[in-house]
Amino acid sequence: MPIEMAGENGKILISDEVIAVVAGSAALDCYGLVGMSSRKLKDGIAEMLGRENLGRGVAVRRENDMLHIDLYVIVSYGTKISEVAHNIQLKVKYVLNEIVGLHVDHVNIFVQGVRVSR
């Protein structure tokens, strides 16, 4: 279900995929996030290769007229997970508002994995 904005010149429809890509891309900028995860608990070839697929691990949902974004992420070991997640929420909200002009009610972060690099 695309986002619809009506104005005097006509309508603008923005698909959920666009929102997912923008949200995913904003999240990737965040410190401490080292990967997006599949919505299901599984990693493998697809996950590692899927970097350019910015919509991966992002779900755009609507509940009672509220817009929810779910992000499935992998964080780096040794960062404070709650804080990294909080930063992602702020960033995603801010960027969606800035680029799409969208009011997001909730950004839910699902930490699906921790990457340990040593």
């Binding site: 990737l28 401490g32 996030l33 493998g44 697809a46 040794g78 804080e83 960033k91 801010y94």
Partner: protein
């Protein structure tokens, strides 16, 4: 005289002063905050994070530097707030690792620990944004490493680190457009500069050094944080016409190979001679070899002068005016005096690159597949496949090119496994063959590899990954035949799962769907498709749509594989 060594107590004093210095300037930092979210709390977050670290240190003081740093890092982690706070906690987590076990540190150890902090911090980010606190910390630490040998004491070192951090900070608007647009420097970077400034203040009071009071970083409104003259000076370092010595010249002199009686080698004298011909001079002598690095206008004169002492080798001359954007990096040297290779210079990097513990050679067909292998860490991709198998000699040659102690070979085809096994006997390096029969298995093996795990753990993990992935491929029949209960006509499309024929039909789409039916079983979630060189886009799209329709639970990934003969490769997990 300031201290040559700092211990845990000194470190605590520095941290306290750093926290105080920053606390007094929280508003200045907040005023700069436009990235990543312009909510004006970067200063507040850094301050809260830092005071949490300082507080832990106050509660659990230690005169042992390693222990103090550890306590501080833990405090930072517990109190980490905001993006910059998390980064700060990582910088000092790495720092603490760097000084772990040291009761005190000299400038070299301190610089090394700073550098380790930067490395740790960078590990936690998938896509580092340049022009942030990360950049500032990195450039400062890099400079610290470069000058740490010359620094007599920690104060000298920190002055250098702080100075470089300020210069890096001044450049942040050039790196991050959002900063330039608003006309500010990066807030987190500014916070870090303040912390360093606090460290310096503590050391100065402590050591009673007569050094001049440090210049207070620019204050006031956000605009004032972009000192015009500082910005210009940073840029002018990059201006081509201002490069006085245009050729970065490096070579090694093999002493004695042509030594004449009247040119006995004296390092000081040699350095003096070279010094007259340019700047940024670096001479490292170790008895038989002398490494020279110099920026000069006359590389020929330099080499003629050096040749009196011996034969020249590893000669490299670069025109820096052409590379002027990289000049700052070129000016930096690592601690051991070797040039840190500019990242844009692969030849340099390869030359200096140290022997790695592990390397990879994969055999692959198709440009897309090769690119994927390279992108996930294969050092050398040999082209090969069903009809064009590389020989043992090809594999040996590829392995010998990889600068690693142990080289894993991924044959990715059952017909190549034997040749790979034979290569084991012939190569100069230790070879481990992972018996992968398909490209997909090869990728799964690679992804299971862990840089820091030991050999047997890696072999285990990779072999397990190979077992777990299911591969399928679609190709066509070259002659009539019969396989189990499947009748195959020449020209039919053939689907194979794990090299077993499971379907044959004149309809490509039908064959693909039949293969999917066989491969996707309950609980499978991921299907990755690699499209071959002969795959038709229209068929691909229709196939993807059908997979989505029939298996709504499955996530689909499509990559261009470019492999010959096989229209599609599938992996199912």
């Amino acid at each position: 005289m300031s201290k040559r060594f700092i211990n845990g107590t000194d470190f605590s004093t520095m941290v306290a002063a750093g926290a105080e210095f920053l606390a007094a300037r929280v508003q200045n930092v907040n005023a700069l905050n436009v990235f990543p979210v312009p909510d004006g709390d970067t200063g507040t977050n850094m301050n809260l994070t830092l005071s949490s670290g300082a507080e832990s240190l106050r509660k659990k003081p230690s005169a042992h530097l390693g222990e103090a740093a550890e306590t501080f890092a833990k405090g930072l982690l517990m109190g980490a707030r905001g993006n910059s706070g998390v980064i700060l906690s990582q910088l000092f987590r790495g720092f603490a690792k760097g000084v772990a076990g040291l009761s005190q540190a000299d400038p070299q150890a301190f610089a090394t620990a700073l550098q380790q902090g930067v490395e740790t911090a960078y590990k936690a980010v998938i896509k580092p944004v340049e022009g942030t606190i990360l950049t500032v910390s990195r450039e400062a630490a890099k400079h610290g490493m470069a000058v740490s040998r010359r620094a007599d004491n920690i104060l000298d070192l920190l002055n250098e680190v702080h100075g470089q951090a300020q210069r890096a900070l001044a450049r942040t608007p050039e790196q991050l457009p959002v900063l330039k647009q608003v006309g500010v420097v990066d807030a987190g970077g500014q916070g870090l500069v303040f912390i360093y400034a606090g460290f310096i203040q503590a050391l100065r009071q402590d050591g009673g050094s007569p050094a001049p009071v440090i210049a207070e970083p620019p204050q006031g409104n956000a605009q004032a944080h972009l000192p015009a003259e500082k910005k210009r000076s940073a840029q002018s370092q990059l201006a081509t016409e201002e490069i006085e010595f245009g050729y970065c010249t490096e070579f090694i002199v093999k002493l004695g190979t042509r030594m004449l009686q009247d040119h006995a080698f004296s390092e000081d004298e040699f350095r003096r001679q070279m010094g007259r011909l340019g700047d940024s001079l670096l001479v490292v002598a170790d008895g038989e070899l002398v490494k020279v690095h110099i920026h000069t206008e006359a590389p020929g004169d330099v080499m003629n002068a050096a040749m009196k002492y011996g034969a020249l080798t590893k000669i490299k001359i670069e025109n820096m005016r052409e590379q002027h954007t990289h000049i700052l990096e070129q000016d930096e040297y690592s601690e051991d005096g070797s040039l840190i290779p500019a990242t844009n210079n692969p030849v340099d990097a390869a030359e200096i690159a140290e022997e790695k513990a592990y390397g990879f050679v994969a055999i692959a067909a198709g440009s897309g597949i090769s690119d994927i292998f390279t992108s996930i860490g294969v050092d050398y991709v040999l082209s090969g496949g069903q009809t064009m198998n590389p020989s043992t000699a090809d594999i040996v040659e590829a392995v010998n090119r990889v600068r690693a102690n142990t080289v894993f070979v991924l044959p990715n085809n059952s017909n190549i496994i034997l040749a790979a096994e034979q290569a084991k006997e012939l190569a100069q390096r230790n070879i481990e063959v992972i018996r992968t029969k398909t490209m997909q298995q090869g990728m799964a093996a690679l992804l299971a590899f862990q840089e820091n795990a030991d050999l047997s753990a890696n072999l285990d993990a990779m072999r397990r990954a190979v077992q777990q992935i299911r591969s399928g491929q679609v190709t066509f029949a070259v002659r009539d035949s019969q396989f189990a209960d499947i009748t195959i006509k020449e020209g039919n499309y053939l689907a194979m799962a794990e090299n077993q024929i499971v379907a044959a039909s004149p309809d490509l789409l039908a064959v693909c769907m039949e293969l999917m039916q066989k491969m996707i079983v309950n609980g499978d979630e991921m299907v990755t498709v690699f499209t071959g060189a002969d795959a038709d886009e229209d068929v691909t799209n229709r196939m993807l749509a059908r997979i989505k329709e029939q298996f709504p639970e499955v996530e689909l990934e499509v990559h261009f594989g470019g492999q010959p003969l096989y229209f599609y490769l599938f992996s199912v997990e």
